[in-house]
């Protein structure tokens, strides 16, 4: 039944599932409220606000005329205004201080940083094969490509060793629904500045060996950022 179904249209699936859900959430948590307000209510709300503002002014005018003078307004006495100035100054001090202090030590003075950022597609898991006439006949007329190339790729494995100690090792699956995209690696490492021996290894197909290896002594100055990238077309690992 699923024969001939193009996997390209899988992208419709999340839209079909999450689209209505998103619309429902958006409608119920906001849009409904916006659409719900009839013009008359909106107009009345506007009037209401005007009345409230006028009343506030009137109320302020009337304050202090209670039988015992118990009602209280804004404190505009000299002492009150001075106390307010002190309160404002304290608030300003807190705002100003925490806007840039205390200092935060992100990295020590004798440290450097290694950034590893790789994007590399593994080898294809299966080789392309020529379709037989029988296989071609089963396909729709517009999809009868003579070769069938399965898209799935091998996961990529990367290992980084610093002074004989492995500090990074990770296997990353290929991106994409069909697992045919590149494998992505990203990592940052804080290390002491000075001389180091870096070894990098990468495996992009099944088996135990490594397709790419890199070994180099390095001298990192304090605060330096060492960037490791990978480009198979340029021979593999690249250090900047």
């Amino acid at each position: 039944m699923m024969e001939g179904f193009d996997k390209t249209y899988f992208f419709l699936l999340p839209i079909l599932i999450f689209g209505p859900l998103f619309l429902w959430v958006f409608y119920n948590f906001g849009l409904k409220e916006i659409l719900k307000i009839p013009e008359e209510v909106r107009r009345r709300k506007q009037q209401e606000m005007t009345v409230a503002e006028n009343f506030e002014a009137e109320r302020t005018r009337k304050r202090g005329k209670g039988p015992l003078g118990a009602v209280r307004g804004a404190n505009k006495t000299a002492i009150g205004l001075f106390a307010q100035a002190v309160a404002y100054a304290l608030f300003a001090a807190v705002i100003g201080y925490l806007a840039s202090a205390p200092s935060y030590t992100f990295a020590g003075p004798q440290t450097a940083r290694i950034k590893l950022s790789l994007s590399h597609p593994g080898q294809r898991k299966e080789e392309c094969h020529r379709r037989t006439l029988k296989e071609l006949a089963k396909l729709p007329a517009n999809m009868r490509a003579p070769q069938d190339c399965p898209r799935e790729r091998w996961p990529v494995y990367v290992e980084m060793e610093l002074d004989g100690k492995v500090i990074f090792n990770q296997e990353s699956k290929p991106n994409g629904l069909s697992r045919d995209g590149p494998s992505i690696f990203y990592g940052t490492f804080q290390i002491p500045s000075g001389s180091h021996q870096i070894v990098l290894r990468l495996r992009d197909q099944g088996g135990a060996g490594f397709g790419y290896q890199f070994l180099r002594p390095m001298v990192l100055t304090p605060g330096q950022v060492l960037v490791i990238t990978f480009d198979a077309a340029k021979g593999g690992f690249n250090i900047q």
Partner: protein, 521 residues
């Protein structure tokens, strides 16, 4: 603790200018200060990677008197917005004003928080100094952990050559559209609030602006060294209001920070529905007594009442309809209904002694209010005398606990909100000398739990808003003193003074006319 702070600021600023109570409007105000100063800063800002830092330095150093002040205002106003927003959130939480029908404002507050942080943090990227480098890379690495972008976005900050003007323009757009979405969500946040106040009182606004300007002049915002993607920034002067999570990110990593952000958001979103749940009793309209006068519609602080065409064939144009999803059961509508009067007893249907157009039959009904009043007045009678006048205190459930004063001639009753009290009940209590004086109290001044209960009550007493307190009611026997739960002492003092005052005027009256104490309840 927050209540004590509120009381302290009541003394310093006076209730109308209390910055704790005005924390929501102050957050709006700081947004506008930040927006206006941001527009000026943007005029001088160069949106290229190489020009950004130099343009910010120009406005800070060369044009310090305007560009520098505007830059500092932009920063400090946004910091102040974080503080006032946090205060506003804590206040609403401590007042339990986030459950039930109030869920909408609480729930829509979360995107406001998120968008404020997006707006603030994205602003720091644009300076393109060491702090920007640290924050931008941290933010991108945090998002990259989700694995939704294909190539890591942090690769844009990998080497000195990685960052281009095109990507930098994207950061500028985030900082422009973030605040626009923030403003939109702030509008949604107050959508369900009737007559929402978004501007602080002028005095408070001027004071806050003067404070920010003074801070900007005295302690201007400055940049770190220019960003250099080839080196690591070692020591940073973080803006802790926006960046307090970044050091945690460095320690815990992106996964834990996502768990914290997602978990925290989930808890905040779920809070309105977490126990202990309170079933709110919503108002009910009784059409046989409703003539569609719209007073309840006008007074409802939650917009829970709408006026619709008449459905019962009676010769009135409209009828009030309660939207149960919006009604908090505060009872202000009951106090607004001109039919809510104890002088018209025995005319109600459905077993009600007092027939009113709108009531809280599932909560505290008008009949029960009448009963409470009658009991309190009755309890005051034995101790009433020329020197000990009978006083009825009418308070609210969110204000000072008036029960504390129940003793001898002083008795009290409490309502869900003082705005629920129809003025005719004050008239009723004082007529025929049932009681010598009435004290109205509720939440602290300008701090009404239901926002407008105090305002409408004062307006009704002053004859500014229907239904009025009738002119025949002796005003010197009605005393108003707004007191929160922490102001019992002040309320006690007021009571003492009011009692002496009543004794004095009673003595004068008795010397001219013989008094009678037939309560007639």
């Amino acid at each position: 603790m927050l209540e004590r702070l509120e009381l302290l600021f009541d003394k310093l600023f006076g209730p109308p200018w209390n910055p704790v109570r005005q924390s929501g409007t102050l957050a709006f105000f700081f947004f506008w200060v930040s927006a206006v100063s941001g527009i000026y800063v943007y005029i001088l800002f160069d949106t290229s990677v190489k020009g950004a830092f130099a343009s910010v330095e120009y406005m800070t150093r060369e044009q310090w008197y305007l560009g520098g002040v505007m830059r500092s205002l932009h920063r400090y106003a946004s910091d102040a917005m974080v503080v006032t927003m946090a205060l506003h959130l804590l206040r609403e939480f401590s007042l339990d004003r986030y459950r039930g029908v109030r869920w909408f404002s609480w729930f829509t507050g979360l995107p406001v928080i998120v968008l404020l942080f997006v707006s603030g943090i994205s602003g720091y990227w644009l300076v393109w100094d060491e702090l920007a480098q640290y924050v931008a890379i941290g933010s991108m690495e945090w998002f990259d952990w989700l694995g939704i972008f294909g190539e890591p976005v942090a690769n844009n900050f990998l080497t000195r050559e990685s960052l281009n003007d095109r990507f930098f323009s994207l950061l500028v757009f985030i900082h422009i559209f973030g605040p626009l979405f923030l403003l939109f969500m702030m509008w949604v946040h107050i959508l369900r609030i009737n007559g929402a106040k978004t501007n602080p009182p002028r005095g408070l606004a001027l004071g806050s602006l003067a404070m920010l300007v003074a801070l900007s002049v005295a302690y201007p915002a400055v940049s770190h060294a220019p960003a250099d993607l080839g080196t690591v920034p070692l020591v940073l002067d973080l803006d802790w209001y926006f960046m307090f999570l970044y050091p945690l990110f460095d320690i815990w990593g992106p996964g834990a920070m996502w768990a914290l952000a997602f978990g925290g958001s989930l808890v905040l979103c779920a809070m309105p529905w977490l126990p202990p749940l309170k079933g709110e009793k919503t108002a009910t309209v009784f059409l046989e007594q409703c003539n569609g006068c719209t007073r309840c519609f006008d007074d409802c602080p939650y917009g829970a009442i709408v006026m619709q065409p008449r459905t019962d064939g009676r010769p009135f144009e409209k009828e009030a309809v309660v939207d149960a999803d919006l009604c908090t059961g505060c009872g202000i509508c009951v106090g607004a209904c001109p039919m809510s009067t104890p002088f018209r007893q025995g005319k109600g249907r459905e077993g009600r002694a007092i027939a009113t157009g709108i009531d809280l039959p599932g909560g505290l009904s008008l009949d029960q209010i009448h009963e409470r009043m009658a009991n309190a007045i009755q309890a005051a009678q034995p101790a009433r005398g020329p020197d000990t006048p009978g006083i009825l205190i009418i308070g609210c459930d969110h204000g000072a606990p008036t029960k504390t004063f129940n003793s001898g001639p002083v008795q009290s009753m409490s309502l869900p909100c003082i705005g629920m009290l129809p003025p005719s009940f004050i008239d009723f209590a004082l007529s025929n000398q049932r009681i010598d004086g009435v004290v109205l109290t509720g939440c602290s001044d300008c701090g009404c739990f239901n926002r407008q209960g105090i305002q409408w009550t004062e307006a009704r007493l002053d004859g500014l808003r229907d239904p009025y307190l009738r002119k025949r009611v002796p005003r010197d026997r009605v005393h108003v003193f707004w007191a929160g739960p922490g102001e019992l002492g002040s309320l006690g003092e007021e009571l003492g003074q009011f009692s002496s005052h009543l004794a004095r005027i009673s003595a004068k009256t008795e010397s001219t006319v013989g008094g009678s104490k037939d309560t007639g309840l």
